[in-house]
């Protein structure tokens, strides 16, 4: 059967066909939809873990007792999961284990542009890189075979343009050789104490040599001979851009990007006049090819930064660019928090209080944007609290009070708890605001351990944030309604004054939550023209439902789009003239 699938959907399908029993992940663009699709297959137990390290450990546990497991994450998630990954390389697997890491060249939706292929080399595990959705399906299946044949976890690397592009896929059947789980003890392999690990390290090195050799005859490493003037070594999405931009060039398309099939590369190099590597981000293939003494051109002509496009490849090879229409400069259209978003009032208040906001990652990172302009740092998930502790250690007393960490519910549960425990333990006197909107909103509203449901939609325990913070030892824990600006101001300023750790928890949900009984929109508000003086106070929260109409009245007036307004009532609290009222 033929279907149009995204790379992510095809990976989910491939896992199903490969007989996977357990799929575990922490969401992250562009990887999220893989687990949102494995739930279509009842045979797979799919779950969101609290973070990527836990996700991988769940996958490892299932593998060690014999089942095939799938673990997925975005590139920076691998940083979190790196600890188990490096030693998993030594233990190897029992049931096949595939870790999908989705890179994001061009930073469409990420905080850095790291090249995860380096993890394959660093952790000494094979990595496959598909170039379209059909390959996503096939390589996923193959990855399980390689995993079990070579006793190794396998990394499957995608990029945004692979994960989120759709193409035609031929579907297969689920294998009838699904491995059953059972306890099999094998301490020499699974207990990594120095004595055992020393032995396993040798196995790992031999495995890499073997894979490099066998890679030369794997069909996924494919030579396409055309004109021999130019030979290009490439992989993944770059292959597609090369075929588009240089249709006559000979190509060595690598399906396995680690370890490299050096003999095959030598053979190909000998057949072409000039050899190139076309790859996004780091000179990962290029440096290794150069290291074995094969002359090749790569980053001399292709940028390390950003993603490739057919046009960029063409330009790198000195081909004429297409004629393009140029247009005048336009206002940008950055994303914005939704109308009625519960984060807005908190950031407005932090701006007013001139706080130094130690930020974190989620929808609330948009609090950085004007007019809210209330986020001063953003490094990685969970970092807000530790960074606040560090700043407070060294700032003079009057500045110390200004330090406020803000963190979302999902991010707090991901890696924020450890930071808070440390802050209390080491007497860090900062204020922490947990923005509990009952969901992992940024990545498209995934459930989390605080939201009361699982990925499979079963009811689950919901973490009680207040109790949790108290158990950690926070003495001052207060819950506020973030849509009440007076309450926000009073409570946040009181806690900022306090020379001790305090936690403030907000309790209003994301407006996009669809589940019954969680979010309820209020009646839309309207601006009463006669009362609006054109003071612009309501514009300070940047709600997309409020538009400034310069031509209205003498100074201009505000207007609320009744179709967009969620009736959160925050704007009306800013209007001193009671011009914003419920629409009649």
């Amino acid at each position: 059967m033929k279907e149009i699938l995204s790379g992510n959907e095809a990976i989910a399908r491939g896992a199903y066909e490969a007989g996977v029993k357990v799929a575990c992940a922490y969401p992250g663009t562009p990887s999220t939809e893989i687990l949102e699709n494995t739930i279509r297959y009842r045979e797979i137990d799919s779950s969101w873990a609290t973070n990527e390290k836990v996700a991988l450990e769940v996958g490892i546990g299932a593998s060690f007792v014999g089942a095939r497991s799938l673990v997925t994450m975005k590139h920076v998630g691998v940083n979190v999961a790196a600890d188990p990954l490096f030693t998993l390389s030594y233990t190897g697997v029992n049931g096949g284990l595939v870790l999908v890491c989705a890179d994001d060249p061009e930073l469409h939706s990420s905080q850095n542009e790291q090249d995860s292929r380096n993890y394959a080399k660093f952790a000494k595990v094979p990595m496959l890189e598909p170039g379209d959705s059909q390959e996503c399906l096939e390589f996923t299946r193959l990855a399980y075979e390689i995993s079990e044949k070579y006793d190794t976890p396998v990394l499957l690397r995608t990029t945004t343009r692979i994960s989120h592009s759709k193409s035609v896929v031929n579907l297969g059947e689920r294998t009838d050789l699904v491995r059953e789980a059972k306890i099999e003890k094998n301490p020499a392999k699974f207990v990594m104490l120095p004595g055992n690990a020393r032995v396993r390290h040798v196995v790992v090195e031999e495995r890499t040599v073997q894979l490099s050799k066998d890679g030369c005859s794997m069909p996924i490493n494919r030579v396409e001979m055309r004109d021999t003037k130019i030979g290009v070594i490439t992989a993944g999405i770059s292959y597609q851009h090369v075929r588009e931009a240089l249709p006559e060039a000979s190509v060595l398309k690598l399906g396995m990007v680690h370890p490299l099939p050096f003999d095959l590369i030598r053979e190909f190099a000998a057949k072409v006049e000039k050899l190139y590597v076309v790859e996004e981000l780091d000179p990962f293939i290029e440096e290794q090819v150069k290291a074995v003494g094969i002359p090749v051109i790569g980053k001399e002509i292709i940028s390390i930064c950003g993603e490739l496009t057919p046009g960029r490849v063409r330009k790198a090879f000195g081909l004429p660019e297409n004629a393009q229409t140029t247009v005048e400069k336009l206002p940008g259209r950055p994303p914005n928090m939704c109308p009625g978003c519960p984060h807005r009032g908190v950031f407005y208040t932090l701006n007013q209080l001139k706080a130094y906001v130690s930020g974190d990652i989620g929808c609330y990172t948009l609090g950085f944007m004007p007019p809210l302009s209330a986020m001063d740092t953003c490094v990685c998930m969970g970092a807000s609290i530790g960074m606040a502790t560090g700043a407070v250690k060294v700032l003079p007393p009057e500045e110390r009070k200004k330090v406020v960490a803000v963190i979302g519910d999902s991010t707090f549960l991901h890696t924020g708890i450890n930071g808070l425990m440390d802050m209390v333990y080491n007497k860090g006197a900062a204020t922490v605001i947990i923005l509990d909107n009952r969901i992992t909103a940024m990545t498209g509203r995934q459930e989390n351990p605080g939201s009361g449901h699982t990925l499979m939609n079963d009811p689950a325990n919901a973490v009680d944030f207040e109790l949790l913070c108290k158990a950690i030892g926070v003495k001052n824990v207060r819950t506020i309604n973030p849509l009440d600006l007076d309450e926000c101001r009073t409570v946040i300023s009181e806690e900022m004054e306090r020379p001790e750790t305090s936690v403030i928890i907000t309790d209003k949900p994301c407006v996009l939550i669809k589940r019954e009984g969680i979010f309820k929109a209020g009646a839309p508000l309207q601006v009463v023209d006669e009362s609006c003086t054109g003071c612009r106070a309501c514009l300070k929260i940047g709600c997309p439902a409020i538009e400034w109409i310069p031509s209205s009245g003498k100074k201009g007036k505000a207007h609320i789009d009744p179709l967009l307004c969620n009736g959160c009532d925050v704007c009306s609290q800013l209007c001193k003239f009671s011009a914003i009222q419920e629409a009649k």
Binding site: K166, E244, G311, Q324, R333, G542, W548
Partner: protein, 193 residues
């Protein structure tokens, strides 16, 4: 079948339903027997950011991204976003654009103004431009929310694909209860000169 790949670029504002329209296009081309690729960035699509989707079909498609300056059709859901991405269109390419302005954040708060005469400027640069009053035609068809389908109808008329494949794709992708209105909206779009 010729080797020519046809390139369509869909642009607009997050939340306008661009991704669904791109799905319907892709499905249609697959049903008509073509190789299809579609690529988009949708991380921020729900937060009102600008959204671009590339759809390409032909005998064999390599890159999922429309090469700069090779777009055959720009399918625009909003005027300023359509103007912004004209560089993807080939010289002499076709524009089908919704006659709609959505103010971006800086315009909402009165810091900048929405650029004047967007429709005119697009027409100046691309004479083969159809300006569609999607909203009103959709209301005429029975539901304001079918504006995208009116536009889709207009785009379909500019591509050499049999009508039955379009209908089949719409029937597959649009919820049952909205189907009649959407089929009517599609035909109204197809009828536009």
């Amino acid at each position: 079948m010729s080797d020519k790949v046809t390139n369509i670029v869909l642009v607009g504002v997050g939340g306008q339903g661009i991704l669904l329209a791109a799905e319907i296009l892709s499905e249609t081309f697959m049903l008509a027997g073509f190789d299809v690729k579609k690529s988009e960035i949708h991380g921020m699509s729900q937060r009102g950011g600008s959204v671009v989707s590339h759809v390409r079909y032909g005998k064999e498609v390599f890159s999922p991204m429309v090469p700069e300056g090779e777009g055959d059709i720009l399918f625009g859901f909003e005027l300023m976003e359509s103007y912004r991405y004209l560089s993807l269109l080939k010289p002499g390419g076709t524009v089908v654009v919704n006659d709609l302005c959505i103010a971006p954040p800086a315009v909402l708060v009165g810091q900048e103004t929405y650029p004047a005469d967007m429709a005119l400027k697009i027409q100046e640069l691309c004479p083969d431009c159809l300006l569609v009053d999607g909203q009103n035609l959709a209301i005429e068809a029975g539901n304001a929310r079918a504006a995208n389908t009116v536009l889709l109808g207009a785009v379909s008329k500019r591509l050499d694909i049999e009508e039955k494949y379009w209908i089949e794709a719409i029937e597959k992708m649009v919820p049952k209860k909205a189907l009649d209105v959407n089929l009517k909206a599609f035909q109204m779009g197809r009828g536009l000169k």
